[in-house]
Symmetry: C2
Subunit: 144 residues, 2 copies
């Protein structure tokens, strides 16, 4: 469904959000540890998220990653997924046709569009805040 990069990116962002809500900056090493992801690969993903303006990064001792508390509420899963995996999952044809278009639909178009739109609106309606809160109060987990 999502790429590994996206899975790691989502988990990392949620973890950073939890820490940010407690006014703590967090290091790459800690993130990779808590998220169960390869350190250097995670670094790449976080760099990309930083360039997309979703997270902030700070170099040097006491450096690390954080998210402005005021933004946590406004960031959606959609933004994260879009930043990492692009928009093919949101607009692409389920059978890989170059263009998904109801005027020349593939055999699964009608059935597929519903699922795709479901996913899209779920991601749009899910805020980083609620995901981080669930994790913070121990309702959900990042490893298993």
């Amino acid at each position: 469904m999502f790429s590994k990069a996206c899975e790691y990116g989502i988990k990392a962002t949620i973890y950073i959000a939890v820490k940010s809500m407690h006014q703590e900056r967090v290091s790459l090493k800690e993130i990779a540890e808590e998220v169960d992801s390869p350190v250097a690969f995670t670094a790449k993903i976080l760099q990309s998220l930083a360039r997309h303006g979703i997270i902030d990064s700070q170099k040097g001792p006491t450096g690390g990653f954080q998210i402005q508390e005021s933004k946590i509420d406004a960031i959606t899963l959609h933004q994260i997924v879009h930043a990492i995996d692009g928009d093919n999952i949101f607009n692409g044809c389920g059978l890989g046709l170059k263009q998904c278009d109801a005027s020349k639909p593939c055999p699964v178009h009608d059935k597929f569009v519903g699922i795709r739109d479901n996913l899209k609106s779920m991601l749009h309606n899910t805020s980083l805040y609620e995901l981080a809160t669930g994790l913070d109060i121990g309702l959900t987990h990042l490893k298993r």
Copy 2:
């Protein structure tokens, strides 16, 4: 969403079904042409579908692929996807945790399970027959 192999496999199966409904066997070459897929790769996928008992193959001159007409109605998209992509998409965690389990859910579990179940039931409820019919009467297309 689906792998390339799965996309090709679905399109090929639908095309074979259309031909089979007209009592015609169809060659690999024709399938790859009509489905816009690489010939040799398509051969691999069709071999796999044949081993899974979803399609029949026949070697030699006048050989090719076909589907028993009586089965077309009973074959579902789910069977095809499951044969090629396995069941990770149906049961796997959206964030890649080793096990998706409501008793130790990942942050997106509750939201994700709905989407995943939607997809699953859509694939279960979509028969090869209806997809092939749509294509046969020119309502849908395999290339673009």
